[in-house]
């Protein structure tokens, strides 16, 4: 009952508008609603689940040539949309992963590979993490060993000459203490 009155109320307020304008407004609002569907036009379903799985893996592995920090799966740029559709086409035609990779590299270069091939120009890229890790381990080992050696290098035993020097120092301290004590005694008297 309540809801009906509410509806009626809306009708009342918009009644002032001419019917044509009202229709146009409704059409506009409907059109705006439809706009949001535009982003979902791309149909990326493949004929078999196995192909879909390969497709999802592949598009995550290639880099969008236009927007360089996104992969093909993430990017909405027209070129990524095109490349995705090409990958779907190639998959449906039965192309292997290597063939798809070759297809993309032939057109856009090694650049599109987020996982580049291991070759002379990419040795640095592939080996750098291992080399840096090794370097880090070496530095740690070096530092730890030096610290150990440093600690053990502190002698626990005194040499003869050191002992003599120590005795001399202790004796000197004793005599100094004695003289100081004598002086105090004399002053107090």
């Amino acid at each position: 009952m309540n809801g009906r009155r509410y509806q009626y109320h809306i009708w009342q307020t918009s009644q002032g508008l001419p019917a044509q304008l009202k229709n146009a407004l409704v059409a506009c609002m409907f059109g705006l609603f439809c706009l949001s569907a535009w982003g979902l036009i791309e149909v990326d379903r493949l004929s078999t689940p196995a192909l879909s799985e390969r497709y999802q893996k592949l598009v995550a592995e290639y880099r969008c040539p236009k927007c360089q920090n996104q992969n093909l799966a993430e990017s909405d740029s027209p070129i990524s949309v095109d490349l995705r559709s090409q990958i779907r086409r190639l998959l449906e035609e039965g192309a292997s992963d290597t063939e798809i990779s070759d297809y993309l590299v032939a057109r856009y270069g090694e650049f599109v590979l987020y996982r580049p091939k291991v070759q002379a120009s990419t040795y640095l890229l592939w080996l750098a993490p291992a080399v840096l890790l090794l370097l880090g381990v070496l530095i740690v080992v070096f530092v730890v060993r030096r610290q150990k050696r440093g600690a053990s290098a502190i002698p626990t035993e005194l040499s003869d000459s050191e002992r003599e020097a120590l005795q001399a120092l202790l004796k000197q301290a004793d005599t100094q203490q004695d003289t100081a004590a004598n002086r105090q005694e004399a002053e107090s008297k």
């Binding site: 236009k66 360089q68 027209p78 856009y108 270069g109 650049f111």
Partner: protein, 196 residues
């Protein structure tokens, strides 16, 4: 030895600073084309000017078999292949300059990339046509084979149809003088001496 050790942080700093400074000057969008020194991919596409709108205003019909262009278009001349579209704002920016260099005798082939026929024809009628011929590639298939990832892009193609250089972005006076002109002239001169 100990004294040298003191300089290690400074050395690291200098190396790092040099690398970062070098990185500052680099264009992160620069991407070497995979097609340098390779032939223009095979294609069969209509010439834009020969396309006509059908009566229903939608489809485009080709008039003559002879108006289908293919990669032999590039044989015998040194050409620029300019990828453009009416939706591409930078293409509008470089358009007057293309007219200039076309007037100075440079052969430019247009590739109308992922565009509609009618607006493209109107564009050339309105702003002038710098292209010796324009390939119409509405689906972007040739663009994809060429490794185009956004208009405008300009390829330098020699008289054997081999791509020699690619410039991504607007061709203006600076780009022409620093990047394209000498290469273009070199190819033209080589062709002229070879032909004699």
């Amino acid at each position: 030895m100990d004294r040298i050790k003191l300089f290690i942080p400074l050395m690291i700093f200098v190396v790092l600073a040099a690398m970062l400074y070098w990185g500052l000057g680099r264009d992160p969008n620069a991407m070497p084309s995979a097609l340098i020194s390779r032939s223009v991919p095979a294609f069969q596409l209509p010439e834009l000017g020969q396309l006509q709108l059908a009566d229903d205003g939608s489809a485009t019909a080709l008039i003559d078999e002879a108006d289908i262009l293919d990669e032999t278009l590039f044989l015998g001349h040194v050409s620029l292949l300019n990828v453009w579209a009416t939706w591409c704002i930078s293409c509008r920016v470089e358009h007057p300059y293309l007219l200039d260099i076309a007037e100075s005798g440079v052969r430019i082939i247009g590739l109308n990339y992922k565009d509609e026929v009618e607006p493209a024809q109107q564009w050339l009628a309105k702003f002038g046509d710098p292209y010796a011929q324009t390939i119409s590639d509405p689906t972007g298939g040739l663009g994809l084979d060429l490794g185009v990832f956004g208009a405008p892009e300009t390829y330098l193609v020699d008289h054997l149809g081999v791509i020699r250089y690619k410039h991504v972005g607007v061709v203006d006076d600076r780009v022409w003088r620093t990047k394209l002109q000498s290469r273009y002239q070199g190819l033209v001169d080589a062709l002229a001496t070879g032909a004699e």
